[in-house]
Symmetry: C2
DNA sequence: TTGAAAGCGGTACCAG
DNA sequence: CTGGTACCGCTTTCAA
């Protein structure tokens, strides 16, 4: 491995000088700068980030904590983040928390030990105080925080939108699936939908659930049609759950959207592929990731934050699990 | 930040001793070991990985290079890897290459500069010589290599299987979509299918393509039905492409699987959600990730490799885009 | 069984 | 403008 000392010797200068040209700090005569640059190229030298990091107490690494990369919503976030930070010369350490406090702690420690310059977290942590001792900036993604900069979609509005659209399209006996209590975005949507439903003249039934996984959702789906067979509209916690509902409806030979409307949440890439193609409330995942990364970049560069909270709009994506409504009906 | 010196002072020993208890190396009297452990806990000390890494020239980081985390096949790989390496105390630095040589190089440098202990790559790099100068072990995933340990599914066999199944189920005029030439696994499948088709009595048409993205695939799909409208069986490069084909078939009101059979490749999670549910050749992605990580762990621990090449079997997943065949027909 | 001290490969202060 | 050198926090000889 070629070190800064090798370069210095070869170029006939001191390590201090090499360091200066490397970082473009202090004064270096143009001649020597060029000479050093050449030896660097000649020796194919690239500075040891670890050594640099030890002294400066900062790496070029950024921690990214996600609930589960296998959930199709998160790769989009991750990619938005990567594209942004990569262009600033930063790289990502990735962790999956599975919404478990213990794993989250593990990664917080990893990030600290490796001198990350900042982190982005999209995981639960009802206990925000976990983040208090940290020596680097934190951005919350997909969930809001009063204390920390955060980027999130307007879940409450999304929930309202879902309820409004399903009512507007004629459902009268609506099932509202309440997501896990510890998943904050799911609760916000739930509250949004609830606020609309409670003021509407539709009957509705709230189903408590404790996960957003497909296999679990299949059970909820069965339960819904058993307990509330006359339901003609289902607002699901997310697109995965909605898809499970769709499957069960198909199995029971319910006609979607004529007898039953279904609305999801997220607009994950595969939602357009389901049958019927899923109507859903879209969160701009890639954009959210990108914005979170931008916010973090600003924190790192100590630039003032114009706004700490970035709330991105959600939109209703009309596909085929909801009925058409005549605009001038 | 509390350092090893703080612990040493507090415990009334030298830093050398603290280091010894930290790493369980050398002799330490039980009394002092306990005392040191207690102060560590009391001070909530956790060693600085960067400093450690500088001296040992090894971090606890592993590089993971993927083509694109947004492609649903890869999160599964990533998760398999993460679960395995996490249990050994390692963490991941994640990079997307987009199959671009330049980005790949960037990450190779990042990994080197950060002293990763090893890396797993699932990206193209026709230029395997890129990896030759590396000072840490490399495992190839989803593609095979003669020189490096690698984990991959049997693409050639998978291609054969797809062709056999579609023929067995009655397609006579088959379209074979040839994936991008620089994506090796796609080419292996292609060759596998080709070998079967060329020996069968089916007519077939080969469509050249240069990407595996959905939006591009929609164009190929249109092209297929234009150029070869009488086709009654399509073997797609992967599930994404197959889904695009399905969409176009639906638009043209082709009846699947009665008039047209479609087979995909990968069995990404959403394939069961498509309509009709996609028949496909399954690659055990999570398992592949896990195996690759195991292999890397062995390389890192310098344990002998029983086998350098791990080839995992592919299986035909029969769903609804292929016809049923009576077993004793 | 323990401690002193020499690095690991950079950065940055201070002197010249 | 340039060089010498003291760190950054940890590991590992070598002596005691």
């Amino acid at each position: 491995m070629v070190t800064i000392r090798d370069v210095a010797k070869e170029a006939g200068v001191s390590v201090a000088t090499v360091s200066r040209v490397l970082n473009s700090t202090g004064y270096v005569k143009e001649d020597t700068r060029v000479r050093v640059m050449n030896t660097i190229k000649k020796l194919n030298y690239s500075p040891n980030e670890v050594a640099r990091s030890l002294y400066t107490r900062e790496s070029r690494l950024i921690g990214l904590l996600l609930p589960d990369i296998t959930n199709p919503f998160f790769p989009q976030l991750a990619r938005g983040i990567e594209d942004e930070v990569h262009s600033h010369g930063f790289r990502l350490i990735l962790g999956n928390s599975d919404e478990q406090l213990e794993k989250e702690l593990t990664y917080l420690q990893t990030f600290t030990q490796n001198h990350v310059v900042g982190m982005i977290t999209a995981t639960t942590s009802l206990a925000q105080k976990l983040y208090e001792g940290l020596t680097f900036p934190v951005v919350f993604l997909d969930r809001s925080s009063d204390q920390y900069p955060s980027v999130y979609a307007d879940g409450f509005e999304g929930g309202k939108l879902a309820a409004e659209e399903i009512i507007k399209r004629g459902s009268k006996r609506i099932t509202l699936i309440k997501g896990p209590v510890n998943v904050k975005p799911a609760q916000e949507r739930f509250q949004g939908s609830l606020s609309v439903l409670s003021q509407s003249d539709a009957d509705f039934y709230v189903l408590n659930t404790n996960s957003l996984a497909f296999d679990d959702a299949q059970k909820w789906a069965k339960e819904i049609f058993q307990k509330y067979p006359e339901t003609d509209g289902i607002i699901a916690s997310n697109d995965i759950v909605a898809t499970a509902v769709l499957h069960e409806a198909f199995r029971l030979e319910k006609s979607v959207p004529d007898d039953l409307q279904v609305i999801g949440f997220d607009d994950i890439p595969q939602s357009r592929f389901s049958f019927p193609a899923l109507s859903t409330i879209r969160q701009p995942a890639y954009e959210m990731g990108k914005q979170a990364a931008c916010l973090l970049m600003k924190c790192i560069k100590k630039e003032p934050l114009i706004q700490k909270q970035v709330q991105l709009p959600v939109t209703f994506i009309e596909r085929n699990t909801t009925r058409k409504v005549e605009e001038h009906g």
